[in-house]
């Protein structure tokens, strides 16, 4: 069976996962990324997901997925239990993003974090010119319904990683899935970071 191609932001995350790694995907949704990693990179994957319907779908794909909340449940995992811990498009929905980040680099030898960049020019335009909270492709839900509560820009994330003393191994800004070389904090809709303790 040929794996279904990944969403561009997930493809960028997947590219950073080494072959055969032990992977924990936090907020794994219906397990699309984990299934892809298993089928094409031979990873041994585990997932955490809040939504029971998504958990059921992921288990149906043969994945080991636990219903749980990254804000509270990561403490249950031993140190360095995984080669890679993934938090894709979820950090902004955490109550305590910094605490979650600290858990990621504790549980995993490395952590891959992707998030919508609140510094993207469309977001800036929406606020500065339109005077309204942005509704864009990477932020599709209006402010009162979105689960996202802690937005940050690529520069903000960079600063937090520095303050926490984390090593940024790799960083990428994506615009519609393509890597942005110039002014990522302005031109990228998504930030992807590979971090280490």
């Amino acid at each position: 069976m040929t794996p279904v191609p990944l969403r561009p932001d997930l493809a960028a995350v997947a590219a950073a996962v080494p072959e055969g790694a032990r992977v924990l995907d936090i907020g794994c949704g219906n397990g699309q990324l984990l299934a892809w990693l298993r089928d094409t990179k031979g990873v041994e994957g585990r997932g955490i997901e809040l939504d029971p319907g998504d958990v059921a779908a992921a288990v149906g794909r043969g994945l080991a997925v636990v219903q749980g909340d990254a804000d509270t449940d990561l403490a249950d995992y031993p140190d360095a239990a995984f080669d890679v811990v993934i938090l894709s498009n979820t950090l902004q929905a955490m109550h305590r993003p910094a605490a979650v980040l600290a858990e990621l680099v504790r549980i995993g030898r490395s952590a891959i974090v992707s998030f919508p960049n609140f510094g993207h020019w469309r977001v800036r335009m929406s606020l500065s010119v339109g005077g309204r909270m942005p509704v864009t492709r990477s932020l599709p839900v209006s402010w009162h319904e979105t689960p996202n509560i802690h937005f940050c820009t690529i520069a903000d994330f960079e600063a937090l990683a520095r303050d926490m003393g984390l090593t940024v191994e790799r960083r990428a800004g994506l615009a519609s899935g393509r890597q942005v070389a110039l002014w990522p904090n302005l031109l990228a809709d998504t930030g992807v970071f590979v971090l280490r303790r």
Partner: protein
């Protein structure tokens, strides 16, 4: 035609059967049913473990009540455990009263029923008896062992005691130990039975059981299988066939009438001494106890994949107990899936129509 397979089977296995508590049974009889065919490779065997008051009639009509099998929502044509694909085994537990060796059995050493001379058994003993049955059936490895409530305790025990014999474990609405509250409710039931003069130290004749004691035990237990929300929705404060309360102690309320009915009908299909022994086995259950209370250490050698399911309104084996198991399995590095499903029906939810549960189990078994 192989006499070992089919409905309503019974086998007496040769040799003594030693028990975890130190006792020995001179012989072991297991009553069981199988559905479907064991394939040539022996890779499609699924063991179903039943809960406290259930039995081997998981997918066929009950011989005493005539009711359909107790888990036909999960097992049957077009269901996640389809006998067209799987060789399904379900056995009456050791200590039970539907044909497997238990307190109602005759002790071959003196020709008398064991009654209270039956040794106290454990969940591990039940599993050991099932393992003997599998040897008899020629089943080496189980593709899966599936159980809810006490059946889930057996399923977990299978993975710990026979790690090489179990590929997948599905443990539903269960716990890795009995809580103080669980033990407390069981003790109420046992005391109700033993307070009934008809119990007579357990030496009652089959035709004259401690019916009132067992009925009260069932009534108390039945409340723990439901939820407040479920009871309110089903009965509220509605009255039973009357327009006003009677200012007496009749079953004025529908919920009283319902519980009395549950108690009485239970007596017709269950033995009081069996109820004492099986509830005791559950109370003694604590997988972590031999490992200094560390559940992760209990799971250290497991080789199975695990799937746990809990229900939001189950307060008998609440989600927290499933999460404790999930945490320990994660710490032991075992592949585990877990989902808490929304249901207003309390502990009983696992026996009712639960399409989400079926979807999860189906995916887990086929993947």
């Amino acid at each position: 035609m192989d006499e070992r397979f089919g409905l309503d089977r019974r086998v007496t296995l040769p040799g003594e059967f030693p028990l975890a508590g130190g006792g020995v049974l001179p012989e072991l009889t297991i009553a069981y049913e199988t559905y479907g065919k064991l394939n040539a490779g022996g890779t499609n065997a699924v063991l179903i473990c039943h809960a406290l008051t259930l039995d081997q009639y998981v997918a066929s009509a009950h011989p005493r009540t005539g009711k359909p099998g107790w888990w036909t929502r999960l097992i049957g044509p077009g269901k996640p455990v389809d006998p067209a694909d799987w060789f399904v085994i379900c056995a009456n537990v050791l200590g039970g009263c539907m044909g497997s060796t238990g307190p109602t059995s005759i002790d071959p050493r003196d020709g008398q029923a064991y009654a209270m001379r039956f040794p106290v058994i454990t969940i591990a003993d039940m599993v050991a008896a099932q393992a003997r049955l599998l040897d008899h059936l020629g089943v080496g490895t189980l593709a899966a062992v599936i159980g809810g409530s006490m059946g889930g305790m057996q399923a977990l025990t299978w993975a710990v005691h026979h790690p090489a014999r179990v590929k997948k474990v599905v443990a539903i609405a269960t716990a890795a130990r009995h809580s103080a509250q669980n033990i407390a409710f069981h003790e109420v039931g046992r005391q109700a039975i033993m307070a009934d003069p008809m119990w007579a130290g357990g030496a009652y004749a089959a035709a004259r059981p401690p019916a009132s004691g067992l009925a009260v035990a069932r009534m108390a237990a039945h409340i723990t299988y439901l939820s407040e929300e479920g009871l309110t929705e089903k009965f509220g404060r509605r009255l039973q066939n009357r327009d006003a309360v009677s200012f007496g102690f009749d079953a004025d309320f529908q919920v009283e009438s319902y519980l009395r009915h549950q108690g009485l009908s239970f007596v017709e299909r269950f033995d009081a001494n069996s109820y004492l022994y099986i509830t005791r086995a559950m109370d003694y259950f604590d997988l972590a106890e031999p490992h200094g209370g560390n559940l992760a250490r209990a799971f250290a050698g497991v080789q199975s994949r695990f799937c746990l399911v809990s229900f939001t309104s189950d307060w008998l084996y609440p989600t927290a107990e499933s999460r404790r198991i999930v945490r320990a399995l994660n710490a032991a590095g075992a592949p585990v899936s877990f989902v808490e499903l929304e249901s207003p029906f309390g502990h009983d939810a696992f026996l009712l129509d639960a399409p989400e549960m079926n979807r999860v189990i189906d995916g887990f078994l086929t993947a």
